[in-house]
């Protein structure tokens, strides 16, 4: 049986008819057409699927799509302002915090969740905010440096909120 889902994704209203067992990730990727969030594991361990649900980080792979009905989801596609990149994205590039890029969308979202709440963060805060995002390429060091640099910039406010 399918149920109607109405959800705001990156500021736009989206709707789909979905089965109860469908994950938010599969609906985002297959129904709404956003492939930024990735599927990297079966059990919320890798964080490649990270999105924000009403501003809090959520593993989209393990969250029931129907539970987002009437709520606001932000994916990596909704982070950058129209005219450029979010400071987290810019600093990740400059610091060399991107290699294969598969974990990057999830890293951006976890970092955004942190900076939106606590722009005054220190290195330990960043490390713990990224605890649920596995990166196999970079060793995290350049990612952590990038997030700390982004935090020091005034403009990292949420781009998806009107």
């Amino acid at each position: 049986m399918r149920y109607p889902l109405n959800v705001t994704v990156n500021g736009l209203r989206a709707s789909a008819d979905v089965e109860p067992h469908r994950s938010l990730l599969s609906v985002l990727r297959e129904e709404i057409g956003l492939t930024g969030p990735k599927e990297g594991c079966d059990d919320s361990e890798c964080g490649a699927c990270m999105v924000l649900l009403d501003g809090e980080p959520v593993n989209a792979c393990s969250y029931l799509a129907l539970q987002t009905d009437g709520r606001a989801v932000t994916t990596v596609e909704g982070v950058a302002p129209a005219d450029g990149l979010h400071p987290i994205q810019r600093e990740l590039l400059a610091a060399g915090g991107v290699q294969c890029g598969f974990c990057t969308p999830g890293i951006v979202m976890s970092a955004k969740a942190l900076l939106d709440r606590n722009p005054d963060c220190d290195e330990d805060d960043v490390r713990h905010a990224l605890a649920g995002n596995l990166c196999r390429c970079t060793g995290y060091q350049k990612i952590i440096a990038a997030v700390l640099r982004a935090a020091r910039q005034p403009e990292h406010g949420p781009a998806d909120r009107p």
């Binding site: 049986m1 149920y3 089965e19 109860p20 067992h21 994950s23 079966d42 059990d43 919320s44 361990e45 964080g47 990270m50 649900l53 809090e56 980080p57 959520v58 593993n59 792979c61 393990s62 969250y63 029931l64 129907l66 539970q67 009905d69 976890s110 969740a113 942190l114 330990d124 805060d125 713990h128 905010a129 605890a131 649920g132 995002n133």
Partner: protein
């Protein structure tokens, strides 16, 4: 054909559980959905999603203690200054569950009803004398956490009962509590073993109240009455720590699995017990509060 309901109040949720065979509630899904995706067991045919039930998310503080609605997230607990200062062991445990995403979606009710022997909240709630309220159509009942937990993945709640809240009594002033977990990594972990302790001392430094409970050391999280009794009336010196550790080791029934052997778990039980007691005592002396940082003090390499 699987079905889905998202009731708007607790009465409606309870009624759905009563009238719909096979219905199970889902809160954040961090256990239920993750287990299904990992292939452990399929999702229930009928899902009753609770996220639209505001009364289950309510937190009430009273003279007698605090009542945490079942939907209270680990993130809320971890960030609550009140919980950190009065029920420190619970804040310790909430702060070390999974990742920020797990904590922002996972709930106290879900953690309890999933009834994993390795649940981090289990032993803190035991030492804090928490009770749960189970609600069904036509009535509620209160159980202690020990009465709720029946075995791995099993509770004594009936299929039509909904866990609505967790009540934690206000600690007697001067009580300190702590939860210590042994783990392989500093994050994203399941306890190898964990211990929670709550202690209160008299003016001579002797223990007048003691609670000790263990996580991941037996089929359910359990208290260790023998160790508690042995601590009363003495100072928390090396000998007392060792005795409590021996009593705990005698009480455990650890398993061997991919995380550790039973032999190692048994030996580590004594270690986490000693460390939990020591930290609880330090907090009792300092007027009971979790030290500042957001991050648990009990990570790999910092369990000491």
């Amino acid at each position: 054909m699987s079905r889905y309901f998202a009731p708007g109040n607790a009465a409606e949720a309870a009624e759905l559980l009563r009238t719909t065979p096979g219905a199970r509630v889902v809160a954040g899904g961090t256990d239920l959905v993750v287990a299904a995706r990992g292939g452990k067991h399929p999702l229930p045919e009928v899902l009753v999603a609770l996220h639209r039930v505001p009364e289950l998310a309510r937190v009430r503080e009273t003279e007698a203690g605090i009542i945490l609605g079942a939907l209270t997230t680990h993130t809320w607990v971890e960030r609550s200054g009140l919980v950190r200062s009065r029920w420190s062991a619970l804040a310790d445990a909430a702060a070390m569950i999974g990742s920020p995403a797990t904590r922002s979606t996972g709930t106290i009710g879900g953690n309890l009803m999933n009834a994993s022997p390795a649940m981090d909240l289990g032993s803190p709630l035991l030492v804090l004398d928490a009770t749960v309220e189970l609600r069904r159509t036509g009535g509620t009942r209160a159980l202690t956490v020990a009465e709720l937990l029946a075995g791995p993945g099993r509770t004594t709640a009936a299929p039509d009962e909904l866990l609505s809240s967790v009540r934690i009594p206000a600690p007697v002033p001067g009580t300190g509590s702590a939860y210590i977990r042994l783990e392989h990594r500093r994050a994203m972990e399941i306890a190898i073993v964990g211990a929670a302790a709550a202690l209160r001392f008299d003016s001579r430094g002797e223990i007048v109240a003691a609670r000790l409970a263990l996580t991941a050391a037996a089929p359910v999280c359990l208290r260790v009455p023998a160790a508690e009794a042995g601590l009363l009336g003495r100072r928390l010196d090396a000998e007392a720590l060792a005795a409590a550790g021996r009593a705990a080791v005698a009480a455990v029934r650890p398993i061997s699995d991919v995380r550790a052997s039973a032999d190692y778990r048994r030996a580590m039980t004594a270690v986490v017990v000693a460390r939990a007691l020591t930290l609880a005592a330090r907090r009792a002396a300092a007027g009971s509060s979790v030290p500042g940082p957001d991050h648990p003090p009990t990570a790999t390499g910092s369990v000491q």
